[in-house]
């Protein structure tokens, strides 16, 4: 409403000025006429004939105001209350001016009102559209209710519409991500509980049997050993689960800092060295000319963990007296590291499965060995977060026993 105050005031001022002008003009004309009459009366009394008086007036020779004539007209009562035909004419003229200007003003107000109404309706329509959009947002429907015609009409509204559209994209994206995270958490919980069930059930059975107490000392020892094994398995599993859940909930942040990757690889080898030695497995670096310091941005701790996982598997699934060969090859964008063992190998159809969470091979060797099915999954996660990859290669496989893991890490 306030923005219409100004045009209303302007209207009033313009009309008042016009009225003032017309009323002044009417007054002036009345006075002129009275002046002419009074001059004529005075000249008559001086004996001037009326034609000469008229000529004098027209020539402007009779400038002075006929005060005496006015007095005479007053004396006859013509000027009292302007009760003469000129006075009536003047009044009528003033009245017409006022009436006309009042009508013009009303018309002006009316058109202003209509314009205002139209603006308001459009404004309200747009606001309603915005509010409906927000209502939908609160019901998690991220669609814009904004009519096309709004575009360009009101700049402000246009900008808000643009912001809303961006917001809807953002909200939709957030919600999808949230749903995805929920889904991931759910599947993680399912997987974890599934993994924990078996050893816990085993442990429970052992304790129940021990609890019945009708065992000879040998049997008791055996069941106690069984309990210890189950517990050790649980411990490994819990350790792996802690890592995995940290990784998945984003508590582990991969911090890539320039460091010598060869050192990282060597410290990973050192970590599995004892186990390898126990099985008389030699871990050898090949193509030594490439083994100069290789500074690559990587997270030393986690990449080391990734290498350990691959190497541990290599040791675990290799027979005694075999070799594990490690090769570093400089490619254009990635450093390629191949870890080749002479172990049980992996059936080709399972290549992609081994990197899945909690997947374990079906062969007897795998089932006998300790493991949680988490290591390679974690390895893949770690490498992907480095912008790299890990795959198991079939290209060297056909004539040889064993597996070759290929790790690629970008130089920057």
């Amino acid at each position: 409403m306030r923005k219409f105050l100004f045009p209303v005031i302007i209207g009033i001022v313009v009309l008042a000025l016009a009225d003032w002008y017309f009323i002044t003009a009417a007054n002036h004309s009345y006075e002129e006429k009275i002046k002419i009459l009074s001059v004529m009366i005075e000249e008559q009394e001086k004996g001037t004939d009326s034609l000469a008086t008229a000529a004098g007036l027209l020539k402007g020779a009779l400038g002075s105001y006929g005060e005496a004539g006015v007095e005479r007209l007053k004396a006859y009562g013509y000027l009292a209350g302007q009760q003469n035909s000129f006075g009536v004419e003047r009044k009528a003229s003033i009245r017409n001016t006022v009436l006309f200007s009042a009508a013009a003003f009303l018309l002006y107000l009316l058109s202003l009102g209509l314009l205002y109404g139209q603006c308001r309706r459009q404004w309200q329509g747009e606001l309603r559209a915005l509010s409906q959009t927000l209502d939908k947002f609160s019901k998690h429907i991220y669609e814009l209710e904004i009519p096309e015609k709004m575009n360009g009409k009101e700049k402000e509204i246009d900008r808000i519409a643009g912001q809303l559209s961006a917001l809807s994209e953002q909200l939709r994206y957030n919600e999808e991500r949230l749903n995805m995270e929920k889904e991931e958490t759910r599947s993680l919980v399912t997987d974890v509980s599934h993994q924990l069930k078996t050893p816990v059930a085993g442990l429970k059975t052992c304790f129940e049997i021990l609890n019945q107490g009708n065992l000879n000392p040998e049997e008791e020892q055996e069941f106690l050993a069984q309990c210890m094994r189950q517990l050790a398995g649980l411990e490994t599993l819990v350790g792996a689960l802690v890592n995995i859940s940290r990784m998945e909930t984003g508590m582990i942040e991969i911090r890539r800092e320039p460091a010598d990757i060869l050192e990282t690889l060597v410290s990973a080898v050192n970590r599995v060295y004892l186990k390898a030695e126990g099985k008389q497995i030699a871990i050898e670096f090949e193509e030594t000319e490439d083994l100069k310091p290789t500074i690559i941005p990587h997270d030393v701790k986690w990449l080391c963990e990734a290498f350990i996982n691959i190497l541990e598997n290599a040791v675990k699934y290799s027979p005694v007296n075999t070799q594990i060969r490690v090769r570093m090859i400089r490619m254009a964008t990635f450093l390629r590291i191949e870890i080749e063992d002479q172990g049980i190998g992996i059936p080709k159809e399972n290549y992609h499965k081994i990197f899945k969470r909690f997947y374990r091979g079906e062969s007897e060797e795998v089932r006998k060995a300790e493991g949680s099915g988490v290591g390679l999954y974690l390895t893949r996660e770690i490498l992907e977060r480095h912008g790299g990859s890990v795959t198991v290669s079939s290209r060297y496989g056909s004539k040889r026993r064993g597996s070759t893991f290929v790790v690629q890490i970008p130089y920057d």
Binding site: R172, E176, R177, M180, I329, M331, A332, T333, F334, R336, K348, Y351, H352, K353, F355, G387, G388, S389, T391, V392, S393, S394, R395, V406, Q408, P410
Partner: protein, 224 residues
């Protein structure tokens, strides 16, 4: 996440009667935004036909392909051509570079075709990511196969398509270079938020994908 590419009962048959070849049979797949999907199949399994259908390069016998909310085959031919150019980047086995113009010109060529302004910084960033910044003035034939495929990848990424379709991108490369090129494809698609669908017969490189679909005799199944 939201589905960016979807097929509904997609079929492609050639010939008729006893000689009918069913290249793609009732494929119903959904590919999520930002996902890297590998479609693995032996030669003759229908995998190339499937990719051509996904990219609107070939018309299906029946069924639909949706990209976001657009029914691709409901578009008129010229509309489809424009849609394809704007929304889809292609990478082929044979690189398909123009031999008479240099690497930079090859990369920005599709952008120019669309009358769009080249986002030079973006293109330079891609070139750097792909490690071919020293080769932009070279003519394609002076590059190795791996380098040529990098140029083709840069070209596919440069016009910021929603989806990149790669048909045997490593078919002409040795195995180490193949691993590297696919690693790069994944890295750059991830970096630029693009969705990647790759056809390959090579199980090794398929492992790098987030998800593997297997096509056998025209039937598509998720690899469990």
């Amino acid at each position: 996440m939201d589905t960016i590419l979807k097929t509904e009962h997609l079929c492609k048959y050639y010939g008729s009667g006893d000689n009918q070849v069913r290249a793609v049979k009732d494929a119903n797949i959904a590919i999520q935004r930002g996902e890297f999907t590998a479609i693995v199949g032996k030669s003759g399994s229908g995998k190339s036909t499937l990719l051509h259908l996904l990219g609107g390069l070939d018309f299906p016998t029946s069924g639909k392909v949706w990209m976001k909310d657009k029914d691709m085959f409901a578009l008129k031919e010229d509309e489809l051509a424009v849609f394809r150019r704007r929304k889809i980047g292609f990478i082929f086995q044979a690189f398909n570079l123009v031999s008479s113009i240099n690497v930079w010109e090859n990369i920005v060529l599709p952008i120019g075709l669309d009358g769009k302004e080249t986002d030079e910084n973006f293109v330079r960033d891609i070139i750097k990511t792909l490690g071919i910044e020293g080769k932009v003035q070279n003519l394609p034939h002076t590059l190795s196969g791996g380098q040529q495929q990098r140029v083709a990848i840069a070209r596919a990424l440069a016009s910021k398509p929603d989806v990149i379709l790669a048909d045997e991108p490593t078919g002409n490369l040795d195995s180490k270079t193949s691993d590297e090129v696919v690693g790069l494809l994944k890295m750059s698609a991830q970096k630029y938020g693009q969705t990647l669908v790759m056809i390959t017969h090579d199980q090794d490189i398929a492992q790098i994908a987030d998800r593997i679909l297997v096509i056998e005799d025209g039937e598509v199944v998720e690899q469990g």
